[in-house]
Subunit: 139 residues, 4 copies
Amino acid sequence: MTIPLRSRFETELRVRPDDLDMNAHVHHSRYFDYVLAARYDQMERCYKMPMQEFLANGFGWVVKTAHLEYKRALGLGELITVRTWVEEFHKDGVKIHFEIIKKGNAKVSCDGWFHFIMTNLKTGRAEAIPDWIIKKYEI
Amino acid sequence: MTIPLRSRFETELRVRPDDLDMNAHVHHSRYFDYVLAARYDQMERCYKMPMQEFLANGFGWVVKTAHLEYKRALGLGELITVRTWVEEFHKDGVKIHFEIIKKGNAKVSCDGWFHFIMTNLKTGRAEAIPDWIIKKYEI
Amino acid sequence: MTIPLRSRFETELRVRPDDLDMNAHVHHSRYFDYVLAARYDQMERCYKMPMQEFLANGFGWVVKTAHLEYKRALGLGELITVRTWVEEFHKDGVKIHFEIIKKGNAKVSCDGWFHFIMTNLKTGRAEAIPDWIIKKYEI
Amino acid sequence: MTIPLRSRFETELRVRPDDLDMNAHVHHSRYFDYVLAARYDQMERCYKMPMQEFLANGFGWVVKTAHLEYKRALGLGELITVRTWVEEFHKDGVKIHFEIIKKGNAKVSCDGWFHFIMTNLKTGRAEAIPDWIIKKYEI
């Protein structure tokens, strides 16, 4: 049985001057923020479930694990494409893979994955992802 | 009639590597964050009224105006003293003056002021500062 | 004699999740970064003189004064227009005015000005702006 | 043959208000910045080789891989201890492990590791770590 692949969505971002470190390259921590920005955009635009809707339903997402592999530095004003997709569904979370692509030469700047856990905002604890949310994320 | 001067409080901070810009100087925007960090520290430690207590009483502070004069750049790992004080009380706000001092040579790196407005968290609107809060701030 | 008005240029930006503070509004310091991002974009795209060209010619810009008036908070994912223009030329600097406009309702979120000083990268000191740069900025 | 354990060094930091996200917890990306701040401090204070000395010798460090496991959120003004150590030496890099500890209850907030590569600043390429630097790091 093959696992059906899920859609890979893309968000375009531009490096801001305040993202640069003292070597004029993007701070390693900002790649993390780029992926998060892309997920927020894609939750709303692609999965049709903006973060506000999760919150309104009493759900939140927290990061359990982050893993980033840096390949090529990003510089001032660079345009990037942040591609993300659901690689695995767990009972109470999802594993999101990402690639940050340099628009200039189509090469990978950074890739990796994030393990997000669904939390109940009232209890602050992990919770099984409801079926109706899985359906939205299964595209 | 002379206006009694209010206490000037100090908070010591160290420049973090992620505060640096591509010229290896602290981003101009981070001075703002340093002043805010000092105010939070001093609200709790000096005025004996941490931000959490404002929030618990249904009050918040928003910035109406920020004015910063940059004198000397800050570099990697520098130790700074952030001195702030209440310069003026308004009906619904306070004007806070600040100085950021380089510990190395005791010279001013940046000074200026912030005009904060007190808001009612329920209405989101400006509100007269209650007497009991003015008392805490008048020291 | 009337002073000819200079062009007002616009850059569109979107609020990133990492720009938000604990009240889910954009950190006051990030407005500063938005203006800087717009200036870098407009230096390249509108004045035809990217920051890299200033640096290659041995010039840099430092902020002497920043003044920001906050009118309306910005929230998650908001689209903004950052409009900037040269308000005054000084011997060794320029006064740049800005407006940050909310795309949703065309209202002003923040406005103000920055006084930038031209520096000689070798000496680190202020320097008269060369005529050929003034020409580029006079449009 | 057992590998001798290397020293674990500690740096104390305080969460700044601008580190908080819209849930009033520290942004996941800022943990990364905390570890970096601790390494810079420890390079100078513990290994007796500040970043500036690496640069003066024509060497830089770049991050190849970052892996972070989030255990407990950090809040406004929290005091943390960032403990780091050299877990492995590679020909051209080091694997640095870290733990971020909450001072309040001595529990782990986040742990993980960073794989740093030594680069030659002139060529921009990876380079074998010189013996004299290994000696400094072997303590």
